[in-house]
Symmetry: C2
Subunit: 186 residues, 2 copies
């Protein structure tokens, strides 16, 4: 299942030897085109990145944040961000809720795994309980707010992954269903 | 929550401008040390990678493969491997079962999300049904075999993520529990 071209090339120079001679070849034993240095032979792999997030719940409402940064500045989103080296996925989700909504959250389960194949991102989103119902506004947010289902600003949701997670959450609740992970992609 | 040092540096030259002058600084607006080019200012992020896998089931048994490649050559493992750009997590898991066990699998749910914080890997492992009960030996395997619980070679399991997934699977089955995702890390 080889790919004719790499989806995204962000490398002008080999990070191993500094050469600018890089080409796309299928390395021996591999079945995909990779960015390979013609001088030192280093193979530069590109892999999808993880975005960890959590939908905080409080008294039947969900907590969303309005983004203060691009992309999608001004749009509402489930607190989420790039997982960092040295933390677990769960820690990343808890940290993001703290950074974006100044809120503590107790994770209650995995809710969605959503792949953006084109942007090479995988969202892992949890459900969580907002500890004490308290929240604020983090540095990367313009505003934070609890919404009931009827109040969700569907036209102003930042990313497809968040709209997907919100729809599945409300669907599950209506059906009295809980605990399953929803898989999605775009 | 800043980190004093990066966990792993694999870059000798800036991949943007080719300079060898890279240093660890906390960029403006960030709260962690990053590898930054002193010449062009490019910030080089390091993020965890996803390993997608699936535990194939057939008539109460689980399918494991004996690794033909390092690391852990000769040890038994749940079919899994690095997720590639352009595919979903589900597609990656199905592809890995095909590549390692020459088997088709129908995914039935997410089973574990396991973070190796030190190695910067996140395993996303599914459960799946082995289609038709048929399997072979893929290029990266020495052997493939169906095991019942009593036959599992616990001392010869390749990775902690696989031992975790197997233990949780058999525990769940004994308790008649199904559908929940198990979170683990090491």
């Amino acid at each position: 299942m080889s790919k004719k071209i790499l989806h995204q090339i962000t490398m002008n120079f080999c990070s191993n030897c500094g050469s600018s001679e890089l080409s796309q070849v299928v390395p021996p034993g591999d079945n995909r085109f990779r960015l390979v240095c013609c001088r030192c032979g280093a193979i530069h792999y590109h892999n999808p990145k993880i975005i960890a997030g959590c939908l905080p719940l409080w008294e039947g409402k969900v907590l969303l944040c309005r983004r203060a940064i691009e992309p999608r500045r001004g749009f509402w989103n489930i607190p989420a961000g790039f997982m960092e080296v040295g933390e677990t996925v769960e820690e990343a989700a808890i940290r993001e809720v703290w950074e974006e909504a100044a809120a503590k959250v107790r994770l209650t389960g995995v809710h969605t795994i959503f792949t953006f194949t084109r942007f090479q991102h995988v969202y892992i989103q949890f459900l969580g309980e907002l500890v004490g119902g308290e929240f604020g506004v983090g540095e990367e947010s313009l505003e934070s707010k609890l919404f009931c289902e009827e109040e969700i600003p569907w036209e102003e949701i930042a990313f497809e992954s968040s709209a997907f997670a919100l729809r599945r959450f409300f669907d599950d609740r209506r059906r009295g269903r809980a605990g399953g992970v929803h898989l999605g992609h775009v």
